[in-house]
């Protein structure tokens, strides 16, 4: 029978739930980090990524509305997160569009939902469904801890490559820089909220499950980008996927 975990045990369990399906292991991410993608590949990534992260404030808005009023800190965090995504400085999606234009695509193409893959549409729909239907603490676990908190580790790996191997300018890759700081704050505050308010065995288990699914959804999305846009140019055999990928994950990556 499951028992209620203390904060230290629960945090370790959440980190474990995410780690197993980290998007860092997806072939698209490996190709990106090793400098093998073309600007056209990166443009397709941006056209998809816009539709996944673009509505992030919308996802959070649904959670905000359903978060119990006595959880004032959690509500304030969600509001601050929405504000920072949209109007706290440069709008985050404007910086994504700047990067995409440097890759050779256009703002019109990026904003056009017809340019996302069915898998991206699936990820976006999953995010909306979680935000609208799950217990708000479970939704924070899924979207903020499971997805947003992964971003700094991914972008830390990818951003130097964009400058050094792909020769983008500092201004062109600003989208990635900013997320290293802001998503680190958002991810950590997400952890704090989940640790504090997931105070029953059932809630803790639901949070763990949704973190696992969230990380899996992101891995699925990133893997689909490889198969839809890159596989015909860069076969899996040319990528160093051997390190740290279990047999089970390899099946998912190659699906």
């Amino acid at each position: 029978m499951q028992k209620l975990m203390d904060h230290v045990e629960f945090r370790a369990a959440l980190e474990n739930a995410i780690k197993g399906k980290s998007a860092n292991k997806a072939p698209f991410s490996v190709a990106w980090a090793s400098g093998k993608l073309s600007r056209a590949h990166l443009a397709r990534w941006a056209e998809n990524h816009y539709h996944y992260v673009g509505p992030f404030a919308d996802y959070l808005g649904y959670i905000y509305a359903r978060m119990p009023e006595q959880y004032q800190e959690a509500k304030d965090f969600l509001l601050a997160n929405m504000y920072e995504e949209e109007i706290g400085g440069d709008r985050h999606t404007d910086l994504l569009i700047r990067f995409a234009e440097a890759c050779g695509t256009t703002a019109a193409r990026i904003k056009n939902p017809d340019n996302m893959t069915p898998t991206t549409r699936g990820l976006q729909s999953w995010c909306y469904a979680v935000a609208m239907r799950e217990d708000p603490i479970v939704a924070v676990a899924g979207l903020v801890v499971g997805l947003e908190s992964q971003v700094p580790s991914i972008y830390r790996k990818q951003t130097p490559t964009l400058r050094e191997k792909y020769k983008f300018t500092d201004e062109e890759v600003e989208f990635f820089d900013l997320h290293i700081v802001s998503d680190e704050i958002h991810g950590e505050r997400g952890y704090q909220i989940v640790l504090e308010h997931a105070n029953t065995v059932e809630l803790q288990q639901r949070c763990l499950k949704i973190c696992e699914i969230g990380a899996q959804m992101r891995l699925l999305y990133t893997t689909a980008l490889y198969h839809d846009y890159v596989a015909s140019d860069i076969p899996l055999a040319e990528l160093d996927l051997a390190s740290g990928v279990s047999a089970e994950e390899r099946v998912l990556l190659q699906a």
């Binding site: 706290g88 400085g89 500092d170 201004e171 505050r189």
Partner: protein, 114 residues
Amino acid sequence: MPNVIFHRNGETFVGEVKENTNLVVRAGIRQFPYPNFLYGCGMGKCGKCASLIIRGGEHLPEPNWKEKKRLGARIEQGYRLACQLWLTHDVELSQEAAPLVDVVAPAGAAVGRT
């Protein structure tokens, strides 16, 4: 682990942080030097986290393009944008009581907490 000595408003705050810590991230998650640390957008744009490095500056990387753009001549005086710094060694720094008027971006260009 780096020790941080932080001065503001005539008070001194001391804390130990993990290696590769960013003080704006720390303040953002409500840990030392919160609530005494001035910061804003976390993007190197608003300039509210501008800090004078008193000791330990030799262990910091060269100012990046955002710091050069925002801080200008203040860099020569020893100012850095805390949001752009990941600490690996001890550091002593200070902030003014209010954000530096010649550094902070005009209202609307980048806003955030103070």
